[in-house]
Symmetry: C2
Subunit: 185 residues, 2 copies
């Protein structure tokens, strides 16, 4: 039975494929527009969207929601990362941090998988810091300003590495292992 990935982001489809195909898991994708809500937690957003998707399409649905949490900005932009990106963008984040030396941050990804029996959640987290300039190359979102722990360049400059170590990669690996254990592929 084909799994369904609800998302409106082509980069998320690419990143999910990089992981899931490696485990022999295929999926189809549909636009998540109309299924999304705002909420105060990634878990609630992903769970709601997955449940609504299952209700509509009557097949196993997975959804992911991610956020960038910056320590010295009290977790901002957090669950509103997507909205903040569309308005003030990476440049806005750099302006907010200014010359601050404390630039620790983390990316969190929650994958929610809804079937007729339950919703399972899989979490991925990657620690890092916010750069002092925008290093655009590839990737999307905050990739140009997020430098993962142990590296000296942002995700946008090490996109192949990002596919392996990102919050999204970690969450999707957990999800893939769960599916294999359950015998779904």
């Amino acid at each position: 039975m084909a799994l369904l990935f609800l998302t409106s982001n082509k980069y998320k489809i690419l990143e999910a494929k990089k992981i899931l195909n490696k485990f022999g898991i295929n999926f189809i994708s549909k636009n998540s527009k109309g299924f999304e809500i705002q909420s105060d937690s990634l878990e609630k957003v992903a769970t709601y969207c997955a449940l609504e998707g299952f209700k509509k399409f009557k097949k196993p649905v997975f959804v992911e929601d991610s956020g960038l949490f910056i320590n010295s900005l009290k977790g901002f932009p957090g669950v509103y990362s997507s909205y903040v990106l569309k308005t003030v963008g990476c440049e806005g984040i750099l302006n907010l941090l200014g010359q601050k030396r404390q630039r620790d941050a983390k990316f969190i990804c929650i994958v929610a998988f809804a079937t007729k029996d339950e919703v399972k959640l899989f979490k991925g987290e990657v620690k890092g810091k916010i750069s002092t300039k925008i290093e655009k190359a590839k990737g999307f979102g905050y990739d140009p300003i997020f430098i993962p722990q142990g590296y000296s360049q942002p995700f946008s400059k090490i996109i192949q590495t990002k596919f392996e170590i990102s919050h999204r990669a970690i969450a999707f690996k957990k999800f893939a292992k769960y599916l294999l254990k359950k015998g779904v592929s």
Copy 2:
């Protein structure tokens, strides 16, 4: 029948009283915690909270939701004004604007009033601009950095004027007139 104002903000209670009492309308207030949702519009947030409040307390309930919309930041912080205030604050807004000369902004307030028959919405809007420094005195929220059109000082420095001309005052005046017309007081 006593009207019920659901809010968790004592300043909002004060500002509502300033207007409604002038029209001879009294109300009691209860904490809105547990009734709030996040959404992509002030209207949805206020409507949902008012409906939930009516369902729980079985009496006419009003709720208000407000946001600051800054033109050159594509409407940021908008419906997330409260979250942005708690994280990056007024200082964050000034950092985002930097030396930008285009500092136009507006405050919007939506009052939602739920009865057994319907939900009525009342909108108040005030145009202005964002100051270049934080002028704390009185008020709350973004009052220290919002200078209303036609004035040279921010709301926080002209709090008596704010009670008269703010987005919240305008919305509550419309609400008061509606109530008087309906014979509710």
